[in-house]
């Protein structure tokens, strides 16, 4: 690892000044950034440690849930009102990473994590447009089982790994930064010909918090091969109000299928909570899927997961 400067800041203003410097990178829990530095995927000149700023609030009010950018994953997941009122968030967090990481990792950091594409994460610099712009994409003609089925480009087929982000999109959350407030679904960007940029945030811009409106019942389903501690093959977050076995409103988002949390943009109002009807109702959203040969199975798996999430209650630990 290249040597790097380190500055621990005492307030947000100081953080902004430091973060604006060229080569500066914010560090909070560090669970992602330390790995990126170790693998030399990123080589910043200065680490701006924001971990001790007072942005750790977890507040539930009549207008919804407010999460400070530095609230820890473990604290949010354990919060009783998050668990009762926003279970998709608690489940997404609890199914993420490992207890040790959740004890360090923060809300803002989780949203800023980078893809798990094995070529991006390789032990040395392989052709990867996300890692080194212009170097090519190894995954398209290589091992692309984990690749996106939506939103990919010729330059990058990587998926976004955050579970939390998927839940936030399904719950229609807003992300507050030092520069703006934007819907969670607009935070991450599609690769186009600039796959090295994961989000729309500018250099030096810092996430301050997340606001989630009052939510209908919600759930998060993560499909993975190992019983725990693995990124999703596909995942789905749903928030739905139903009555008499019929959906009144529903919002869903998919993980593991796109370079960003993928909103399932179909209107499910009036659809009965029955397998076949649900399957027919969500099918149009998958017409746009453009898989690679090795990731084609995700089209079927993701649809099954959506139907499952809407029809079967999921335990908080998320295992089906």
């Amino acid at each position: 690892m290249r040597d790097v400067g380190y500055l621990r800041v005492g307030d947000t203003a100081e953080a902004l000044t430091a973060a604006a410097r060229p080569g500066a990178r914010l560090i909070a829990g560090g669970t992602e950034l330390v790995n990126l530095l170790k693998e030399r995927i990123e080589q910043p000149d200065l680490l701006v440690d924001i971990s001790r700023l007072p942005l750790t609030d977890i507040t539930v009010g009549p207008d919804g849930l407010h999460l400070g950018a530095l609230a820890r994953m473990s604290d949010v997941a354990a919060h009783p009102e998050v668990r009762s009122g926003y279970p998709a968030i608690a489940q997404a967090l609890e199914l993420s990473a490992s207890p040790q990481l959740r004890n360090m990792a923060t809300m803002g950091g989780n949203l800023m994590q980078r893809t798990r594409c094995p070529y991006f994460r390789a032990d040395h610099d392989l052709p990867c447009n996300k890692r080194r712009p212009g170097s090519g994409c190894s995954a398209i003609d290589g091992d692309h089982r984990a690749a996106a089925i939506f939103g990919a480009s010729e330059s990058c087929v990587a998926t976004h790994p955050s579970d939390l982000a998927v839940a936030l999109v399904a719950l229609d959350a807003q992300v507050r930064t030092t520069a703006r407030t934007l819907p969670a679904r607009d935070l991450h960007r599609l690769p186009g010909d600039q796959p090295h940029r994961d989000t729309v945030l500018d250099h030096g811009e810092m996430i301050l918090g997340i606001d989630v409106p009052v939510s209908p019942p919600s759930a998060y389903l993560k499909v993975r091969e190992r019983g725990s501690y693995e990124f999703a093959l596909v995942s789905v977050a749903v928030a739905a109000e139903t009555s008499g076995g019929v959906i009144r409103t529903a919002r869903a988002a998919l993980g593991g299928v796109a370079p960003k949390p993928w909103p399932l943009d179909v209107d499910l109002a009036g659809v009965p909570l029955r397998r076949d009807e649900l399957r027919a109702a969500i099918a149009p959203a998958f017409a746009a899927a453009r898989p690679l040969p090795g990731s084609e199975f995700k089209i079927e798996l993701a649809q099954r997961a959506v139907v499952r999430a809407l029809t079967k209650p999921i335990g908080l630990m998320g295992e089906t």
Partner: protein
């Protein structure tokens, strides 16, 4: 014998146990490897200028300036010596080692070594290399075997099953990454090494560096798992002493996790075809089992997958054959459980398919073909209680309630399946020696070069010594893992308890005889006459003698050696494995919910450590069946996932309560201990039992392990892409 907790438990729960990378040496420098990024070709340009100027850099060693090495001997199966030429034979081959005063600086300097390659075309996939497959001349067993007339047997069969099965490339993934500390001091080289064979390392280092054996000492006090990758000797174990010699001091070389994927072998993928002919009553008329596995382009590793078919079932006609297909990866190497592990996936899956062709219960089919003697060698088995394993396993599992029809056990949204398989493992043994001594206070010291890699060697040797000496185990201290101790073989092939255990027993008996003779002042008094009682010896026909009176102030000891006998028997361990899987019908995720293994392995010295070995092995089987695979990228010629995020080993949530037990047995041919080795047996049979259970749950026959959700989604059984 009795269950005993581990004698090294205290050291391991307090953090006091020292693994190779934990040793504290003065002025320790750190070495970091630079490895090739292409699978074949040669180094075109190599620029170390910046690296040499980097802060703290002490040396940058490449093929240009590395000391010339001599051939490193038989245990250096890799054959290619590190940093001796500009050729590249596999991705991950060392091209430079950088030594610096601190690890961070060594890493930074290593990143400044500039290498460009002239790449050559490379084949890395087994399937692509099949046209170049070849047959080796010899291995530890004959490459081919043939008894009876297989063609005639298939001709007269009522049913013939011929199927091809594949197993994936897998990596050992010990929790401890390999590490070597090398220290030159006063003309002596001392290595602290993560190895399953200290003598192998010493011999290879002596040969490579042209040193006499008495100037090299190798120590492996604790080893954080081996499973085969630390058995033979590999480039990093020569590079560390080379680097230490260059800087004239102590150097620590710890492999990164990524480097462990290319530095000490892997289990090669296999492609096996099994042909079974059977009469309507289930009796086999012919078995043909052929296997091909990938090896490197520069050396041979044969996965003798078909040897299981030579001994498993009674059959008048059996043919086996093995081929190798060369690919541009690092040389594969044995991995728990080699040969029989992948081999039984094919044989036992085929037996299940045959059971369904014939509509005969899978256990019953195996019983109808039970081999009372080795059908290929024509010899009796040293001891075999597999019949009891089937019966006890079926009872514990509740097999009698199993409906034959696939898909019959659905539970809500879960498809439930029950499957079974036999397990077998060839038994290995190696010459071993040991020294047992006692001091005036009655403290016993057992010394043998052998290694503790997690299996419980210290504990079992302690028990065997205490039993042979007639003293409580608490009095016994074990010293292992040091080439200054009596020579033994490597900790591999499940051979240690039988081999080193027998040597320890012989030495302890010899010491007991010596003590009895001293007490009775006779030439050769029977050992049984003497019994240790604290710091005194009690001998029938003589007064209780304080040891200090008997032996004086200096310890007295005895040394003994043991060698495997060439008794005319066939020696294998056996077992029966029963698995229950539950598969979410929507999401196609198979999970193992129950696993029962009952084993025939001769005498079990310590039920606690033995059972733990079996449970650990069964967990490897879960990995083989459902998770573990190391795909290679065809264009880049590299393993795709060189980390524990991408290479999936089973985690806590993947492993249910496991039921492992042994049948009572004593094998009079298994050394003086009476027990055959068990370290690998638990990892055999679980994979096919799970695959058979998946068939029972879904009706989909999967012939490629590990089983992927997408394969079950497709329902066509061909395994992963």
């Amino acid at each position: 014998m009795t269950a005993r907790t581990r004698v090294d438990g205290w050291a391991k729960v307090t953090g006091a146990a020292r693994y190779a990378a934990d040793h504290r040496l003065d002025n320790l420098a750190h070495a970091v490897l630079v490895t090739s990024t292409v699978p074949a070709g040669r180094i075109a340009e190599l620029d170390v200028t910046e690296a040499e100027r980097a802060p703290g850099a002490l040396a940058v060693i490449t093929h240009r300036n590395a000391p010339r090495l001599s051939p490193a001997g038989d245990f250096y199966v890799q054959t290619v010596l590190p940093l001796q030429d500009d050729l590249i034979r596999y991705e991950g081959e060392p091209v430079a080692v950088v030594v610096a005063d601190r690890l961070e600086r060594a890493g930074e300097a290593a990143a400044l070594v500039r290498v460009t390659y002239e790449t050559a075309p490379a084949t890395v996939e087994l399937d692509d290399a099949l046209p170049d497959a070849y047959r080796l001349g010899a291995y530890f067993e004959p490459i081919t075997s043939s008894v009876g007339d297989v063609a005639a047997g298939l001709e007269r069969a009522d049913v013939v099953v011929e199927r091809t099965y594949t197993t994936a490339a897998r990596h050992h993934s010990t929790m401890e990454p390999s590490a070597t500390l090398a220290e030159w001091r006063d003309g002596m080289l001392t290595l602290y090494d993560a190895t399953q064979g200290v003598f192998n390392v010493r011999d290879a280092v002596c040969a490579a560096l042209d040193l006499p054996a008495d100037r090299v000492r190798v120590i492996a006090e604790y080893v954080g798992g081996g499973f085969g990758c630390k058995g033979f000797v590999w480039p990093h174990q020569l590079i560390a002493p080379m680097a230490a010699r260059t800087v004239g001091g102590a150097v620590k070389l710890v492999l990164t996790r990524a480097q462990t994927f290319t530095s000490h072998g892997y289990q090669p993928p296999t492609r096996q075809t099994v042909t079974l002919g059977a009469a309507r009553d289930g009796r086999l008329t012919a078995i043909r089992h052929t296997s091909v596995n990938s090896t490197s382009t520069y050396a041979d590793h044969l996965e003798m997958a078909a040897i299981c078919s030579r001994a498993m079932y009674a059959c008048p006609a059996i043919e086996t054959d093995h081929l190798l297909a060369p690919v541009s990866t690092v040389l594969p190497t044995p991995m728990r459980a080699p040969s029989d592990g992948p081999g039984m996936v094919a044989l036992e899956s085929a037996m299940d398919e045959l059971a369904y062709e014939l509509d005969i219960d899978p256990v019953e089919l195996r019983l109808r073909n039970y081999a009372e003697r080795d059908p290929t060698k024509g010899r009796p088995f040293s001891s075999k209680a597999l019949r009891a394993c089937y019966a006890e396993g079926a009872r514990r599992f509740g097999w009698a309630d199993r409906p034959m029809r696939p898909g019959a056990l659905r539970d809500g949204n879960d498809l439930v399946g029950w499957g079974m398989a036999s397990a077998t493992m060839a038994t290995f043994a190696a010459p071993a020696s040991a020294r047992v001594s006692i001091d005036a206070d009655g403290r016993v010291l057992v010394e043998a070069g052998s290694q503790e890699i997690g299996t419980g060697t210290r504990t079992v040797l302690c028990q065997l010594a205490a039993e042979a000496l007639g003293c409580p185990p608490e009095r016994v201290t074990i010293r292992l893992g040091d080439t200054t101790l009596p020579p033994t073989g490597m900790t591999a092939g499940s051979s240690t308890t039988m081999s080193v255990g027998s040597a320890v027993q012989l030495a302890a008996r010899s010491l007991r005889t010596k003590l009895a003779s001293m007490a009775l002042a006779e030439g050769d008094a029977p050992a049984e006459l003497a019994r240790l009682d604290g710091d005194a010896l009690v001998v029938e026909g003589a007064p209780r003698t304080p040891l200090r009176e008997l032996i004086g102030d200096d310890p007295v000891g005895a040394e003994a050696s043991w060698s495997p006998s060439t008794a005319d028997v066939s020696m294998h361990t056996f077992g029966a494995v029963f698995a229950e899987v539950r598969i979410d019908a929507d999401l196609c995720l198979p999970r193992v919910s129950r696993l029962v293994g009952v084993y025939s392995a001769g005498r079990i010295v310590n039920p606690l450590t033995a059972r733990s070995q079996m449970i650990g092995g069964m967990t490897w089987g879960i990995g083989q069946a459902l998770l573990e695979r190391s795909p290679v990228d065809r264009r880049l010629g590299r393993f795709v996932n060189k980390n524990l995020a991408g290479y999936l080993v089973p985690v806590n949530a993947d492993v249910p309560e496991l039921d492992a037990s042994f049948v009572d047995e004593h094998d009079e041919h298994a050394g003086t201990v009476g027990g055959r080795g068990i370290g690998e047996l638990g990892a055999v049979g679980v994979g096919p039992a799970i695959a058979n259970a998946v068939f029972h749950a879904t009706g989909t026959r999967i012939r490629g392990l590990p089983i992927a959700p997408e394969t079950l989604l497709r329902g066509d059984g061909d395994g992963r892409d």
